[in-house]
Symmetry: C2
Subunit: 197 residues, 2 copies
DNA sequence: CGTATACGAGACACACTGTATCGGAAACGT
DNA sequence: ACGTTTCCGATACAGTGTGTCTCGTATACG
């Protein structure tokens, strides 16, 4: 008797898939990414090992899917935050702060789980990972361009480079101990974006 | 007949150890970290598998040792750069630029090798990795404090937080395509460090 | 020159992998 | 409602990596 059974078969597959991703993330956080095995994942998820292979071909694919799901949820949150403000400058600040808080919370919430960015290097194809993360980069890049159109952005560096700068700099939030420190980080990052006097 | 044999036995062990680290880094870059095995490492290094186990207990330990060696060489280079200048501000700028170039070169030189920071999350004990990376953090932190003493640093954020900011922001160099872009990145990062007007 | 150390090779039990097959149970479509 | 399709858990299997051990040999050490 399968643990979770939904009305529709498609919904069931989605639930099982999500459960696999959750289990894998938990195992990776507990014992390290390198020691996670398909057997463990199947057992802890409560499904047969052969069934697991019908969802994913190997551990790497699962980690990749987990990373994609993380990025997607981040994107959704960031879009919400962005659409709550009208002014370009306000939008940028709100989104950057939200991005920083996401990374801050992840590390405080789970024990010392890896960021997506860090996980990226594990997988063989950085390119594919980059594709997911690049959606976030695009969003920030567009926000920066909007600010530039308002004349409130430095013009000696192209917006897409500034976006790369922002994303990496804000990853520092994962190391910081307090929300106050994260707030200061966002302030520092924003400082560098203003037009040269 | 062992491939490399040195006069002293201790030098020999160091050479073998380094060869193991080189091989492992190469394999990880070629086929992804997750697929690296002790058997492969032994074969490609040209030593017996049992011998490999006398140097390292598992793949994770080798990756950790490789990471430590990387950080140590970075620290050495950064210290050289630092000691070539006298003025605190000049020192900071030179070291930050060198740090950025290290990360830039690594990604351009090898195909898409992982940064240390990214590799860190793979291993179970982030704490130990953090210890190695923290030496770099300390160096930057000291440089920032020296600049602060000269009155050329913003005083609304403590130097150790600014150091965290710098290190993460400069990691963006690994994504940038050209040396010119890296130069602009360093400029941007430095912008945020100046005293509030 | 005797001793201690490091080595390669091989053997071993164990775990994980990837694939295949099977009968049963649930959803699907008419 | 009922036949069909789809998914599932269990089991089996060969192939590979793991971690440990022993043994005979070669080298450095004192």
């Amino acid at each position: 008797m399968p643990r979770l059974w939904s009305e529709t078969i498609d919904a069931h597959r989605r639930e099982v898939r999500d459960a696999i991703l959750d289990t894998t993330a938990r195992l990776a956080a507990e014992h390290g990414v390198l020691s996670v095995t398909m057997s463990q994942i199947a057992e802890r998820t409560g499904i047969g090992r052969a069934t697991l292979y019908k969802y994913f071909p190997d551990v790497e694919a699962i980690l990749f899917a987990w990373h994609e799901r993380q990025i997607a949820s981040h994107l959704e949150l960031l879009a919400q935050v962005r659409d709550q403000a009208d002014d370009a400058g306000t939008r940028l600040e709100a989104v950057l702060k939200a991005y920083a808080m996401i990374h801050h919370q992840r590390v405080r919430h789970h024990q010392h789980k890896h960021h997506g960015a860090e996980l990226a290097s594990f997988l063989h194809q950085d390119k594919h990972i980059a594709a997911a993360q690049q959606q976030v980069h695009s969003m920030i890049s567009e926000l920066l361009t909007a600010v530039a159109d308002a004349g409130d952005l430095r013009d000696d560096v192209p917006p897409h480079e500034l976006a790369t700068y922002c994303l990496h700099a804000l990853d520092a939030a994962s190391t910081l101990p307090s929300k106050a420190a994260v707030g200061r980080l966002v302030t520092v990052v924003l400082t560098a974006l203003r037009p040269r006097p």
